[in-house]
């Protein structure tokens, strides 16, 4: 060992000494001393013997290195300003296709604490939280590893709640937590969790508020949407270090804070689902982006839902939102409503798309070529004519001889 260490130090560590830069070297030395001092402090800090952790944290050992902490919350209480019992009436079909409205007992709320944020097979999930609604209670399980050897137990035990019927609810779990669980399970040669339905609340929050808020982190979302403010919360970025200090030096002083932080993370998932349900039901009332929500439904081929959301928010829609609404009306053959929107946009904003749609409508549906020509000309006046516009004009002119003169005039003017 010593020879390799010396050789490595010769190649790396001595760099600063070698240059004769005394300041750089003493800075390095200072850091080293600080590290040693910190380590001593950690070792001498409050310690709870590993064995007694279950009592200290209120859990039970599943195996030597895996502790399960289970709490049951009556649904009658509040989280922020959200009534937890409202979960009972959430219509899940707003968040996932092909879901029966009442599948509340199949929901599994999931959040993890990990050794790093980069992902990849070396990132460890050392704390897994799962929550379910059962018989009027919210059951919240936290699996805490006290060593790597507890990982298998963790996943094997958690599998009871994670099966094909589970509907996973997470915050950014699609791209972070779930792939990590799969990665660790593969490393342990376990069959990865088979999740069919996954409601990622980060995506839904972004839909509703990305354009309104500066960020959509869980913290901001809790504050803005749930009126929930954490007190004495462990900062998320500290979590890996708390666990490292515990595993390396036996420092358990901040484990309770870690568990509390993570407990809030999972509980907020439940509250957030309840609140987002209300938001998606009535975007305008919650100052949410109805257009983005409608686009999500359009993408899922659920135009009726999209139409409903846009209608409810018509007063506050922007141009793109109104065009989307008109498009949905048109697809349903509700021409007068569509035309009203286009007409308004054409008159107030000179909206090209609306003018074009009006021209198309009058040419192909109403067969009123004069009016079609009129809208086409208005498009032309605002911009140098595109090839499409010129073609439309030529076609209309053929259909309606009286427009010939207009056409000649226009073409000569634009030339």
């Amino acid at each position: 060992m010593s020879s390799i260490r010396n050789r490595l130090h010769n190649l790396q560590g001595n760099n600063t000494a070698a240059t004769g830069l005394v300041t750089a070297d003493s800075a390095g030395l200072r850091q080293r001393i600080q590290r040693i001092a910190q380590r001593a402090r950690l070792i001498n800090g409050p310690r709870v013997r590993n064995k007694a952790l279950d009592q200290f944290l209120g859990g039970q050992w599943l195996s030597e290195y895996c502790l399960l902490i289970e709490r049951r919350l009556p649904l009658g209480r509040l989280h922020g300003d959200v009534q937890l019992k409202d979960i009972q009436s959430v219509d899940l079909s707003l968040f996932a296709e092909d879901l029966p409205p009442a599948a509340i007992e199949r929901l599994v709320f999931m959040d993890t604490e990990t050794s790093g944020l980069s992902g990849g097979s070396g990132t460890l999930v050392f704390l897994l939280g799962l929550g379910r609604v059962e018989a009027g209670e919210f059951i919240l399980r936290q699996y805490l590893l006290t060593g790597y050897a507890g990982e298998s137990t963790l996943y094997q035990h958690a599998a009871a709640w994670l099966d094909e019927d589970s509907i996973l609810v997470s915050f950014n779990g699609k791209s972070f937590d779930l792939p990590l669980l799969e990665t660790r399970q593969r490393l342990l040669r376990l069959v990865p969790t088979a999740i069919k339905t996954h409601i990622d609340l980060l995506h839904h929050t972004r839909r509703a508020y990305a354009l309104r808020w500066r960020d959509c982190s869980l913290k901001s979302t809790e504050r803005k949407l749930l009126a929930f403010n954490r007190h004495d919360d462990l900062p998320s970025a500290e979590a890996p270090r708390v666990w490292q200090e515990f595993v390396r030096f036996g420092n358990s002083s901040r484990l309770s804070a870690l568990l509390q932080h993570h407990y809030w993370d999972v509980l907020s998932l439940l509250a957030l689902l309840v609140r987002l349900h209300a938001v998606f039901n009535d975007p305008q009332r919650h100052n949410a982006n109805a257009h983005a929500i409608a686009r999500y439904y359009v993408k899922g081929k659920r135009g009726d839902l999209a139409l409903e959301k846009l209608q409810g928010s018509q007063a506050v829609l922007d141009v793109a939102g109104k065009l989307e609404l008109a498009r949905l009306y048109r697809a349903r053959g509700q021409w007068p409503k569509a035309i009203a929107i286009w007409q308004e946009l054409a008159d107030t904003q000179g909206c090209q798309t609306s003018l074009e749609n009006l021209a198309k409508y009058h040419e192909h549906v109403a067969k009123d070529y004069d009016r079609a020509m009129e809208f086409t000309k208005r498009m032309q006046l605002q911009h140098s004519p595109s090839i499409g516009v010129q073609q439309r004009m030529q076609r209309l002119s053929r259909k309606n001889v009286s427009s010939w003169n207009d056409l000649k005039l226009l073409l000569s003017a634009s030339a």
Partner: protein, 808 residues
């Protein structure tokens, strides 16, 4: 290899354009051609399609007009099916891709096996996918070949991972993007049957050592998924392909080195530019000669390629040729430059023009030495000796395909190696190509990869990784807080993604982008690697792309950005850099009274202090500029030769004379050492100074060797006698060293002796670029000039006990 003809013998008359160009050149510049070599055409050696080759593949090959295989392709098929790892060593354009595509595609369609292809660059990957897709199309097979690299869009990545039969990638992507996420590739690794590594010869030195460790990690992951892939490697000609392949994959490899592909006649001319000043031994520049030869060839309608040694030389030659051929902007370009640093789109465009034959000449660096498909060319001009026999043959291979005669011209520069080769071409013709060395157990590189491997899978007791004792590394990493040991297992613990901190190609990290801000916009026009940035992107530098000059206005070193504007400068710039060393440790020493040779560890600091402005065509020096950049530091191993002050004072009247001698001797020894070590000159660095870094030697404005402190002040006054122990350092030019200093120490006597022969045998009177280096403006002072000073130093270094004295 062919027959070497004495100079006067004219090549046989032949009607081809190539041969008439040779006749013209021989007629007008007979004195420049020191010798000619003719390599006769060879007819191909063929084999029938192997029994068992899938009917669909057979049909596809027939549709491509292939009715039989070259012998090396059939041999590859046979060895692969015997289960051996195989390395195929054949020249450019000999159909090596079928050597691996046939067994791989067969395994894909018969057994649903998977294959990983690794190419050193992204450009080569794309060529490969196109090739497989073509066979797919012809055969109606549905083999899925995809590139997976930095350019693969996010939504396509999952499809490639899950459904790709052949995944084409590069070592950097494997290292940073695939291995750390291996669980996402579980199905792929479970069925991985073949790993193809093309351009094997590129994997040497630092890059090769990293690559060998990346392969170790790959195999470790494969073992986890229960697969044990077979390797098929391809290499250009080097001395030790089998050894390199075996070192790279850590297993025995069978070699196929006889090509069955036919080859046209190849003429090779050795060209020494005419002497323009006999006194100073100055010859016309290699550039001017290369231009002449290319002009002759292009006027005959021949397609040409010019290889230059530096990016700067590429730009200068391109400018001269463009000034001549591309004067009229309305006509399509006939000449283009191609080198590292250009953006991918620009390079793809040039490759395409070459393949389609719309371009007549390309000027390039080693960038086109790789197997990028650029079609058939007729004439290859090497502007300067490429530094190694292997690189020379590989570049010459760019001209001449199948059935046409081709011409290669080696134009010597004034560098010692060039002069040596061009005057004694039989050395080149008889020499075997160089060996490629890697050191997979180089401590820092190994440590980097142990770290990455520990992230990918925990290490368990009894496991090994590389040639060093693994547990020492694991304990070290645990101490650093990166790993956590639990029982017999070391787990990754840190909040970090180690692969991102490790670059396979160097130790320092981060490319610089060159941003054009002329006209207010911000357009990225080039990329420059970290190592070259200090030498090419200092403020005031003229940076050239396709011979168009840009001036660097501002360099953001931390942000790795250089802001440039278009300019019309009639000059280019060349950096001036200094090197300082400090001795840290001595491993071996050979001490004699008054002199010693030592091998040990040194700390090297390199500083770019300024630059010269050099006018086009006249090459006069028209000004200097100052540069303020961070020093480039590294820790490496070196050999140094030193003489004590009393001995020097006996032989030299002035210290500057001794320093002159040291500088000249260092120049000669540097080149000889590179030759003996079969490496390139830039693999070694040289410096003259003393070991405590208080001073180093350089050339002052009068052309005399003088002492300087590292800040550039003249230091003579501060150097006391006890500090005046000049040493001549040759150091391994890579952080940590890649194993050059040990053999160099073994060669310590030969290096001095051969350098003395080189200087003594040089025809010049006072010293010249071919012996003691161009940095010394030699004075006409007959008894104490640079050449004699260097000879004196070399003979002082040489006076050893007879028993120690070995002449090779």
């Amino acid at each position: 290899m062919g027959q070497l003809h004495p100079r006067k013998q004219t090549p046989p008359q032949a009607p081809s354009a190539v041969e008439s160009v040779i006749a013209q050149l021989a007629g007008e510049s007979a004195d420049c051609i020191t010798s000619t070599l003719e390599i006769p055409a060879t007819s191909g050696a063929y084999s029938p399609f192997p029994a068992g080759l899938d009917e669909r593949l057979l049909a596809a090959l027939r549709l491509r007009g292939i009715d039989q295989l070259y012998s090396h392709q059939a041999e590859a098929w046979r060895l692969v099916h015997e289960g051996r790892h195989v390395v195929v060593v054949t020249p450019t354009a000999s159909g090596k891709t079928l050597c691996y595509n046939l067994p791989v595609m067969q395994a894909v369609i018969r057994d649903s096996a998977k294959a990983l292809y690794l190419f050193p660059t992204k450009a080569l990957s794309q060529d490969q996918v196109a090739e497989v897709l073509e066979l797919n199309r012809l055969s109606g097979l549905q083999i899925k070949a995809h590139t997976f690299d930095g350019d693969t869009p996010g939504d396509a990545r999952k499809a490639v991972r899950l459904h790709g039969d052949i995944v084409v990638s590069n070592p950097d992507m494997l290292h940073q993007g695939i291995l750390p996420h291996h669980t996402k590739w579980a199905q792929f690794f479970q069925s991985l049957r073949y790993v193809v590594i093309d351009e094997l010869h590129i994997y040497r030195g630092v890059f090769g050592s990293h690559m060998a460790n990346t392969v170790r990690r790959l195999l470790r992951i494969c073992r986890f998924y229960g697969s044990n892939p077979q390797f098929i490697l391809c290499s250009a000609t080097i001395a030790n392909p089998q050894e390199l392949a075996s070192r790279l994959i850590g297993q025995q490899v069978a070699a196929i080195s006889r090509s069955g592909a036919p080859r046209g006649r190849k003429h090779l001319l050795f060209w020494n530019p005419p002497v323009v000043n006999a006194d100073l031994g100055i010859r016309a520049s290699a550039r001017s000669q290369s231009n002449r030869i290319i002009k002759r060839a292009m006027r005959q309608g021949l397609k040409c390629i010019v290889f230059a040694q530096t990016r700067l030389a590429v730009e200068v030659i391109t400018k001269y040729l463009k000034d001549y051929f591309d004067k009229d902007p309305r006509k399509p370009e006939r000449v283009r430059a191609y080198r590292g640093g250009y953006l991918p789109g620009e390079r793809r465009g040039t490759e395409q023009q070459l393949r389609s034959g719309t371009l007549d000449c390309v000027v390039t660096t080693s960038a086109l030495e790789l197997g990028v498909d650029i079609g058939a060319l007729d004439v290859c001009v090497l502007n300067g000796y490429p530094g190694t026999v292997a690189a020379t043959w590989q570049r010459l291979g760019r001209a001449g395909r199948r059935h046409r005669p081709s011409l290669g011209v080696l134009v010597a520069s004034s560098q010692p190696l060039d002069q040596f080769i061009v005057r004694a071409p039989e050395f080149f013709c008889d020499a075997s190509p160089e060996s490629a060395h890697i050191d997979p157990d180089q401590l820092l590189i190994l440590l980097d990869h142990v770290r990455c491997a520990a992230f990918e899978l925990p290490f368990t007791r009894g496991e090994s990784f590389g040639g060093e004792h693994l547990e020492d590394f694991l304990d070290y990493l645990q101490e650093e807080g990166l790993l956590h040991r639990e029982g017999d297992t070391w787990h990754w613990m840190a909040d970090a993604y180690p692969a991102n901190a490790v670059s396979l190609r160097s130790v320092a990290n981060g490319n610089f982008v060159v941003i054009d801000i002329s006209g207010g916009g911000q357009t990225v026009i080039a990329e420059v690697d970290y190592g070259s940035a200090a030498l090419t992107l200092y403020e005031g530098a003229i940076y050239m792309i396709q011979a168009q000059p840009w001036q660097v206005e501002r360099l953001d070193w931390e942000g790795r950005k250089a802001f440039v504007t278009r300019t019309r400068a009639d000059y280019y710039t060349d950096a001036i850099d200094y090197t300082r060393l400090k001795i840290l440790d001595r491993f071996d020493a050979d001490s004699q009274p008054g002199r010693s040779t030592v091998r040990g560890e040194v700390h090297v600091v390199r500083r770019v202090s300024g630059y010269k402005k050099i006018r086009y065509y006249s090459h006069e020096n028209i000004g200097y500029g100052k540069v303020e950049l961070p020093d480039h530091e590294m820790h490496t191993t070196a050999v140094w030769w030193q003489l004590d002050a009393p001995l020097l004072d006996q032989h030299f009247t002035h210290r500057w004379q001794a320093l002159d001698g040291f500088l000249g001797a260092a120049y000669a020894m540097h080149h000889i050492a590179a030759l003996l070590l079969m490496s390139e000159t830039h693999d070694l660095g040289r410096a003259v100074g003393n070991g405590d870094a208080t001073w180093f030697a350089t050339v002052d404005s009068n052309g005399r060797g003088s002492l300087r402190s590292f800040d550039g002040d003249t230091a003579d006054s501060t150097v006391t006698d006890s500090h005046f122990v000049p040493a001549l350092f040759l150091y391994d030019n890579y952080p940590g060293g890649v194993g050059l200093s040990a053999p160099l120490y073994d060669f310590r006597h030969q290096v001095v002796e051969r350098a003395r022969q080189l200087v003594q045998g040089c025809a010049c009177l006072h010293g010249c670029p071919a012996c003691v280096g161009p940095i010394l403006h030699s004075s006409r002072d007959a008894d104490q000039n640079a050449k004699q000073a260097a000879l004196l130093i070399l003979s002082l270094l040489q006076q050893q006990k007879e028993t120690d004295y070995v002449i090779n």
